[in-house]
Amino acid sequence: MASSEVLIPSNKKVRPHPTQNEALLFEKSSPGKRAYKLPPLDVPAVNAAALLGAAHRKTPGELPELSEIEIIRHFTRLSTWNYAIDLGMYPLGSCTMKYNPRVNELVARIEGLAEAHPYRPDSLAQGILEVIDLLQRCLIEITGMDAITLQPAAGAHGEFTGILLVRAWHESQGNPRKKILIPDSAHGTNPASAAICGYTVETLKSNAEGGIDLDALTRQVDEETAALMLTNPSTIGVFESQIAKIAEILHAKGALLYMDGANMNALVGKARPGDFGVDVMHLNLHKTFSTPHGGGGPGSGPVACKAFLEPFLPTPVLVQNENGAKGWNYDRPQSIGRVRAFYGNVGMFIRALAYILANGPDGLRQTTEDAVLNANYIRAKLEDFYDLPYRTPSMHEVVFSDKRQAVKGVKTGDIAKRLIDYGFHPYTVSFPMIVHGALMIEPTESESLEELDLFIDAMQAIAREVDETPELVKTAPHSTRVSRLDEVQAARKPILRWRPTK
């Protein structure tokens, strides 16, 4: 044991510095401490045991008992163990880790919006309904589609909703059809979403450029194909230049084109899916429209579609009556039904609209241009150091492989971990699966030239380290509070909660 380490009675290894050694809330608890004070009860107190009878809770849950300052310190200390966009570049490909404007947080907390109950009468909800209406109109314009639902809670939930629209439309034509085509480069959510909609998934092999193989598509599309789920630009950051032809092949057999809008950050203000043959698509407000990722959510996954799919949108839909007042219409006989209670992650709608207002048409276009500029700059500066499996032009992200480094036994995951030592979050590792050992880098528009150059320097330095001191890279990170964690043990004997000691 190193001298800087001390033992505590439970024999757990701890560090000498309290901020690096914050225990679980439960381990810090002490009976009788409290961080709350309820106002005096202004109605008669009740005897809970008598009122509830057998339904009365006799044993409270083992929640921690702490004071307010301890809670503040606890979560503040934990927060310092996180990497964040606010700290530096977060080039996770396909996740679009762009700046999350703080005004978004402020306006989402405005009392009249944050405290609105979802069942308040429409007459008391006109303000929030106007916000929802304006966001819907903006997103319809940005995508070039005809109609939209904001109900889905995240991207995968949007995929589910979009594929249900496809299914409902096919059913209205007399046959729901059986299969969904999905390229081998797709996100895992695509096949999972198609499956829960009752479809079988057929994989479409990518061509030599990493795009859709038109011959394979022509062969595989038949009268039982409901749709193709296509990410455009693709997960290797390439725009499908044959997109019109792809739509034509599908439509000729009565199949629809679903677009996964995860990569819309490459298109906003420059091209609209509705103009290139897409029938239905989802957006990720937490990617393209700057709502915070928050450590994994909440997201929001609006689904936009062409007019022929509108009758099938989830209930309710926002409508405006003759006197201009807005309200919800539940009378939608062809609807796929609800996909979520209430109307969606409204707090995210407010933030996304604030982002659109801050940008305007010129800002949205410049944002897209800068995102693509940044990715291409990185590509130009790193292609002499890392293998570029597809030489097709990049849009908002660039995918390298670890082919050159693998010779030295260093994998993409190792390079990613070493990047942490240089002060950056890793890129997306080993995805898309069509690239063996992928390094998927998406800088977004939020990076300055200075930050990009620091990242490029780091990546070049790591490439040199792989040649000179590969062990240094293979054992990275070396600068973090914890080193590589034992994931095998975590999965073999799962410890998924703290337990009180009896």
Binding site: K12, G127, I243, G269, P361, D486, R497
Partner: protein, 449 residues
Amino acid sequence: MRYLPKSPIEREQMLAEIGAPTIDDLFAVIPAEHRLNRDLDVPRQHAESEIIDYFRAAGKKNSTGFASFLGAGAYRHYRPVIIDSLVQRGEFLTSYTPYQAEITQGTLQAIFEFQTMIAELTGMDVANASMYDGSTGAAEAVMMAVRVTGRHKAVVAATVHPEYREVLATYAKHQGLPTSLVGYELKTGRIDLTALEASVTQETAAVLVQSPNFFGVIEDIPAIAAIAHAKGALLIVSIAEAVSLGVVRPPVEADIVSLEAQSFGVALSYGGPFCGVLAVKEQFVRQMPGRLVGQTVDGSGYRGFVLTLSTREQHIRREKATSNICTNQALVALMATIFLSVYGKEGIGELAEHNLAKADYAAKTLSAQPGVKLRFTGAPRFNEFVLQTEEAPAQWSQRLLDAEIVGGIDLSRWYPELRNCTLWCATEIITREQIDAAAKALAAVPARA
């Protein structure tokens, strides 16, 4: 544009390094006929002050300052100040899903604490890292029961939130999963146990009930569990009002609990983002959807946390995954974790008892008005109750609105048989003065001409 950190000169310099004459050369791969050669028709670029003005005006137009008796799956509780102080720290707010464990230990440990708290409160063994909300959580729980049992039918109580049932119907429709509905006892508002017993068969994968149910009535969980388990079906208990767990016995006989944790410090925000979460018995954990955080050690033996058992998930298993869920409600789960740290073991009980007292006073006071009675009696309730009025709700609700009070929600929109019945909620936020004012407005039936 103020969010973009590049000068025009830098852009030119970068283009030169790339070897592209103009920015549009980088978009040349998009066929010309598909390129947008005009400005998007969206509002012009706004100053920050204008953005705030716009949303403040929207907030004002929404009307504030009304006393509200609305519940029905969305509950107004006091939100301690430190929740927003902490969740707005950029390290939480602007971090991604903790796939890179070495630099996301903050989020991971907080989720581990969340999982523990939810398991403790619900009486289950393990909880996941969150689902979208209570409605989708309930639907995912039913699909999970199908995987566990290998059976393909579900029995659902009519007293489950109607919108949760609609969501389940959307999911079940394409899974070959027929669901049958079981009604409620007219006197108590509880699920009809005789009808339940008749509905559950050897083919039933799951029985889904809600407790406190949509009418605010607490179900007899041990009796329901006995019926479900006698036929080998799993029992799923949906809980929409999480604060009830401070004083109501947890559904320990359940196999899966689907909780909506919005009541734990999450703003109403017109219905979202909320925070669903599933808690289950240990033996079902590998069939559970959603992310899970587990404890482990690093190379030097220090305790650390990682996302684990991910072979259940879509990014590994694709179409064979337990669910398509990816992004969940992490930051909202953090809000709930902070809320529960503030109230703690004793406080959550005290808070729940305040709710019980306010609702008891409100139910007694309002039902004592002429032409008003309590619709369901004889079974315990938490903080919601149903009133039946001689007057149609449309008539008295306007009188209440004139007094800046939003009364209970009309139940006939989902239950046509419950004519003139409204669902009321009284949390710790409501004051005696507001309850008395509502009673006065209810009683002020205009004299007949």
